[in-house]
Subunit: 418 residues, 2 copies
Amino acid sequence: MSLVVHKYGGTSMGSVERIKSVAKRVAKWHRAGYQMVVVPSAMSGETNRLLALAKEVSGSASLRELDMIASTGEQVSVGLLVIALQAEGVDAISFCGWQVPIRTDDSYTKARITSIEDQRVRDELAKGKVVVITGFQGVTDDGHITTLGRGGSDTQAVAVAAALKADECLIYTDVDAVYTTDPRVEPDARPLKTVTFEEMLEMASLGSKILQIRSVEFAGKYKVPTRVLTSFSDPMIPIAEEASSGTLISFEEDENVEQAVISGIAFNRDEAKVSVLGVPDKPGIAYAILGPVAKANIDVDMIIQNAGVGGTTDFSFTVHRNELQKTLDVLKNDVQPSIHAKEVTGDPKVAKVSVVGIGMRSHVGIAALMFETLSKEGINIQMISTSEIKISVVIDDKYMELAVRALHRAFELDKAAA
Amino acid sequence: MSLVVHKYGGTSMGSVERIKSVAKRVAKWHRAGYQMVVVPSAMSGETNRLLALAKEVSGSASLRELDMIASTGEQVSVGLLVIALQAEGVDAISFCGWQVPIRTDDSYTKARITSIEDQRVRDELAKGKVVVITGFQGVTDDGHITTLGRGGSDTQAVAVAAALKADECLIYTDVDAVYTTDPRVEPDARPLKTVTFEEMLEMASLGSKILQIRSVEFAGKYKVPTRVLTSFSDPMIPIAEEASSGTLISFEEDENVEQAVISGIAFNRDEAKVSVLGVPDKPGIAYAILGPVAKANIDVDMIIQNAGVGGTTDFSFTVHRNELQKTLDVLKNDVQPSIHAKEVTGDPKVAKVSVVGIGMRSHVGIAALMFETLSKEGINIQMISTSEIKISVVIDDKYMELAVRALHRAFELDKAAA
């Protein structure tokens, strides 16, 4: 018998009516003979309400107590969903993270799962029950409640699917698939039937908000076939149709299917560019610049160093836009004087655009086509960075939408893959 | 070092401001050197909100899932109180029932505590922390969450105090003491400095709503000195003053203090009187009447049987007013025909008034004074029932307040005990 894990987000659980709709959908799968584990989020808005209450009591709350409070949102959700399932005539039982148990480290508010014991869940499944497990939370070895941080219920669902060796983890959300790019920017964007784990990881880390990046990492690590699909369709559509809808994140490159070269165009304007100009070109300079930045707890994304003329070089990197000022302060106060750089500049008006595709491993000319396309549109490339399956460029952010649309057409993403 | 347990009800935890006030009070005790365990209720209205949500999903929810949902109200409370305590500079930690653990049977929504393990709490107390424990909930041996039912957090607090052999359990509530009778009926009602466990049990079971009866039973069984006092006073009043305020439920009859003969007047109008008239006076008749009533799951309180004339007798008892019609149906359909009773009558317009006092054990004339007082006021007594420490009468309910005031004066309860 197939075992599947369903994950439902906060919007899908947003009201009593929506919860009843989720129950109808789960009941349909259960009646069709699937073994079912369901991981629902807290009702939308509930976690924020709870954290606001805590903040009203004190701005400097201990993280352990915040987890104690925030974890109740999911606990209410699982109880309500089981009640709705029982009203559909389905035998079901709810478990909190500590009851499974889902063990985590003790990094309160952003804990990481260390192990999941599956016996208790298996016992209930063997009795024919649907098992409903809280997302977003676990328990330490010392018996303290932890939460996985925002979006952690995606990760929890995938982790539970991995622990149970589920046939598939279905992530129900408010979009119907992963698209070749954001349809709000490019109306011809096309839903992808499949995407590889590596591509999804690049898309997720580049700002596609559909799946939390840690859940994709988990899916990759444990090779859990994971499907993204909508919870806003009619809950009673035929299973065969529903089970093949949305986008499947796959782990085996299917030799028989011609892989599209490029799967999608990702983009974000969350970053800012920082340059340290006229730096003496000698060993240790990258560490001299980035050491103090890392020490200030600032995450750095792209890093570029160009060999310059006359014994000096220019060093550029990107940081989150919110941390630009902090970064400039560190550089101007702690770095510039000691390395005798000529100038430190910052530019928040940049955007990063990336083409992502596992197919580029075996295809040449992807970079050339990308640069040609941007050139034709008169878009200047400020930084370039590449990995095995993606090429990213930093450009003036006013050209972002134009670049995305031009690349989408150039790589023929509006046309269905062969 | 003294160890005390504080219990705060839902109104005391009703808002962020109130929670901060509770934290100030607890911090004051902690700073004065007490080891502190605090058991707060859910914020007032929260449990009702959660149960209404569950009912909206389905009217026939499983009790296990209701407990899963309802228990979150207290979980939020303990987290918020710890955060408020930390803001007061007090080191504190919260525990759910399952974390202590507080073990219960599996009677969901009305579970009974079977055992409390104290090691985890003691370990935290030894570190100098205030330990905040959810009221109202526990965990079964199989790891399912249970709730103790409404008012269960009084019981939980007393049970925790018993397990920890606390020096005192202080129940903070919205009244400032146990009174000789309800001050709304008798303005001269006087707060009692002490009351014995047995008296409190009679008062609680007779309708005084200050403490849940099970918590009094628990206090009695484990001899936990328990004090009822207000949480609405200034949280910063001196500890010496606060620690001797309210009413102490004591377990040792202090030989050195003249015990008041009567401690208080209890009353309620929740009951109705039922009479089965003209019953053949022969063995087995009580069972023939009350067997079918018990079978219909109707609780019976007072029971009176008078020997009658001519071989017949009259049999009367009281039931909750809400169950009068159901009782009459059972009697008329199932009982009257088989025992050949002449008539079955019901009267909802009755009230029960009781004088309660451990002192009546060694004093005569209490019943006589009670009956004389009622007679002087022209109040007819319909039923009488006595225990070792109380005398109850059933009277026409329109005379209830008059009876309470007259008895309060007759037993000189408005005057302080010697």
